[in-house]
């Protein structure tokens, strides 16, 4: 069947097939008769069409009701400049590019992508799912020659394109670490043991090792502590606030090139506390592993008095009052 594409806001004139201008006809839209006020002779005039006017238009001869013409009108827009992104999350195997349109066109679009490396044109194989994505295998590694990726989107009302230029190292961004686990350490009220795994999409962590960035904070505070780890997939936090629930995330980056991954899924954990929450005598060992440690600064208007926070020896309750800046290992006796 016939399809007709028109821009939003356009004026559309439909002829009833080969019928003369002065023939008596009836037009319907999706089976509903169209008022004669929209007709100019046997022509149907639709002014300033909008999306709601998409549908099947039919024209019937006046008395016999023979169908003389039928078309499917699709109202849409030409494509705006597409948004294109390319990334290598499985270096050194290859990279993928994905794209989308910033606003819908409401009519079918086709995409064509070209990848050029120096003088060589490479084939970007389209993924079955998601549809707006294709992937390329690296033919060369360690090249200084940039890649140029051009995406063209075309529909019945127009076309548009965008180009990305980048070098091999710049687009390397691993997926976040997987299976992040945080556990309390028995008999250690200030420790949390965190472990994770390399993202499964990273093909060769032995030759292309990842480094990691860990961030953690108690739920009650906004400021994160950060630790950068150049190897290993585990870390023990040793300066956790006793009894406080923590939120922990990890990110990964190739040791040498590219950018940091997104943060992993957040995990929650609370350091070990003795049950019931009595105060115990325990020598407090002050340790820090943080690269940047913020001193504990409570919001000025709150008073936090937590009998469960065991610091120092003896039966002590620690009470942080407004206005007091406590270093992480300060003790206040009441």
């Amino acid at each position: 069947s016939h399809i007709q594409y028109e821009r939003v806001g356009a004026d559309v004139t439909m002829k009833c097939g080969s019928m003369d201008w002065d023939a008596a006809v009836t037009w319907t839209a999706n089976g509903t008769d169209i008022d004669e006020s929209h007709l100019n002779g046997s022509y149907l005039i639709l002014k300033n069409v909008d999306l709601t006017q998409s549908g099947q238009y039919s024209c019937y001869e006046g008395s016999s009701w023979h169908l003389k013409y039928q078309t499917y009108l699709r109202v849409g827009t030409p494509p705006k400049e597409p948004v294109l992104m390319c990334r290598s999350h499985n270096y050194p195997k290859g990279f993928y590019c994905s794209w989308h349109l910033p606003t819908p066109t409401y009519i079918p679009n086709s995409f064509n992508i070209s990848v050029i490396h120096g003088t060589r044109e490479m084939v970007c194989e389209k993924d079955a799912f998601p549809k707006n994505r294709c992937h390329i295998r690296y033919l060369q590694l360690f090249s200084t020659v940039k890649y140029k990726v051009t995406l063209t989107v075309t529909n019945a009302l127009g076309k548009n394109s965008t180009t990305l230029t980048f070098d091999e190292f710049a687009i390397v961004k691993p997926d976040p670490p997987e299976s992040v686990v945080a556990k309390p350490v028995p008999n250690n009220p200030r420790r949390l043991e965190v472990s994770w795994q390399n993202p499964s999409s990273w093909p060769d962590p032995e030759s292309f090792p990842l480094k990691f960035f860990l961030r953690y904070r108690p739920l009650i505070l906004d400021q994160w502590q950060h630790v950068e780890l150049s190897d290993g997939t585990s870390h023990t936090i040793t300066d956790a606030y006793a009894g406080k629930e923590y939120i922990i995330q990890v990110a990964a980056k190739d040791n040498d090139i590219g950018t940091w991954s997104d943060w992993s899924v957040a995990v929650h954990a609370t350091p070990w506390t003795e049950e019931p929450k009595h105060l115990t005598t325990e020598a407090q060992v002050t340790e820090t592993t943080s690269a940047s440690t913020s001193s504990f600064m409570p919001p000025p208007t709150t008073k936090i008095c937590d009998k469960g926070a065991v610091v120092g020896s003896g039966a002590v309750a620690v009470c942080w009052t407004a206005g007091l800046v406590l270093a992480a290992y300060g003790v206040l006796f009441i």
Binding site: L141, F142, T144, V145, E206, S207, F208, N255, D256, I257
Partner: protein
Amino acid sequence: SPSAALRRRDLCSRGIRLAGKMRSDVVDLLDTYVERQGLDASASVSAVEGVPAAAVERWDEQTGTQRLLENLAAYRAFRVLLAQMLEEQREQLGEADAALGRALAGVLLQVSAFAYHLEELLRLESRGPPSEEGAGPPPASHLGLFERKLRGLGVLRELAQWAVRSARDLRQLTKPSTGSSSAPSLAESP
């Protein structure tokens, strides 16, 4: 022999660290060079004669020996090229830019040290390192001043790529050969 295996592993891990430091210093040197030579950092430089390109196809299929030989050839060439650049820089700017000269000299030293590591690794194989050929990269005396500056940019960029590649190459060498890999370990290479 076990001592040779230990020495190999030691040379590799030191080489990997050296490559990492070298890359970091070359990246800093690139910034300094671009600024002092009045160049545009995004200027594209076509392949420069005599500069070994780091780009390689089927990198993962290379044997241990191939990796060492290609690396060694590259760093020997860079040693000559950097010495030329240092000479030119002294002639051109004299003492006016001691900082650039020092940075160049520092990288040249690391390049020499890395070449030595590679020679030692090749010595652990029965074949030993190839002798240095008399003809290195040709001097750039026929080029004008601006062309020489661009050439220098090309040299440093390619060296930065090599420093990344070399760390990867040495890590491949330290991987135990599992038999399923197509790249035999050093012990198996002829």
